[in-house]
Symmetry: C2
Subunit: 201 residues, 2 copies
């Protein structure tokens, strides 16, 4: 839909300044959030420190939560690629499991800033919910990719079901002592069911 952020695009002074303002706001917000916690930093303060008005802030970010997820990038393309470009013989749920384990559960081993970021999101209900809601917006696209790859009709509800469950899987892990195992088990359930369902037509 919107192709902002393409580094190759020669944008004029105007768009550059706009992007700079946006970045300044997001950076300020994230810094303050990491310092003092999401709930203890108000919109007015962020705008103040970033030296813009609250009106301007909300012109760049629709809601407070969005300040944290500025660099969404395209998670969706990665997700779809995981399905479409999976190794020969690997089932779709298996590919999604790999992707989930690699991409969503990789918090621990990155550098400190990433860890802090994940901690922030993880420990703030509002941010967790927002992130999950964003994640679920890919359901339809994923369902369509699954339908194409599996040869099932696009309208087949099982495709939507698999897509939805796969996207919910990381959430199942919450509260388990071994999150990776929990996610793996959730995908086991889906994989076995999916195999049988596909082979029967």
């Amino acid at each position: 839909m919107d192709d902002t952020g393409n580094s190759a695009a020669p944008m004029g002074r105007r768009e550059r300044k706009k992007a700079a303002t946006r970045q300044a706001i997001a950076d300020t917000a994230l810094r303050l959030f990491l310092e003092r916690g999401y709930d203890d930093v108000g919109i007015r303060e962020i705008a103040d420190v970033a030296d813009v008005s609250t009106t301007t802030l909300f012109k760049h970010f629709p809601v407070k939560e969005a300040l944290v997820f500025d660099e969404d990038a395209d998670q969706e393309s990665g997700l779809l690629a995981a399905v479409r470009e999976r190794p020969e013989g690997q089932s779709i749920p298996a590919a999604l499991r790999e992707h989930a384990l690699r991409y969503r559960m990789a918090a621990a081993d990155g550098d400190a800033r990433f860890t802090a970021f994940f901690d922030l999101v993880d420990s703030t209900p509002a941010l967790r919910d927002y992130a999950q809601a964003m994640w679920l917006r890919h359901t339809d696209a994923l369902a369509q990719a699954i339908a194409e790859e599996s040869g099932l009709p696009e309208s087949e509800p099982a495709c939507t079901a698999l897509a939805h469950f796969a996207l919910e899987a990381p959430r199942v892990a919450r509260g388990h002592d071994d999150p990776r195992l929990a996610v793996a088990r959730a995908f086991d359930l889906l994989e076995i069911g999916w195999r049988a369902l596909v082979s029967r037509g």
Copy 2:
């Protein structure tokens, strides 16, 4: 935790009045919501019409959404009963499917007030989300019941996975032309996977 609402409990004048106030607030709110829509009725107005202060209102209901779900009753016991008292030979996912189809997708055929209520919830994002969040709070209890019934260790992540997915299933239906079919398919996926998973130990 709290055992309010037990009709057999002889509560004193105080608790009776409290319950009456609560009921009056909830009734007023629901009436206004049905008349004019959830988003077009403010907290202050509800309190005003119910003749209480907003402070009092919030002492009975933690957030605006809660005004609509006053009569939660115990969905949880029904859910657990569906699993524990299922017919001989019926799998756990099958029992959950029956329960989902009967209890969650039954909006259309009740009397008009129920229909209107479901429409209200269904057409208001804030209420949908709140309802789903409430629904998911039963995950742990359901997972435990599943573990007991299936003989798997309580810590087995697959139990949590099945519980979570089963509770999410109704959401898969959203946006499909035939919601009941979509839900059924979602449970098919779970049932087949579950059978295999249990039989392997």
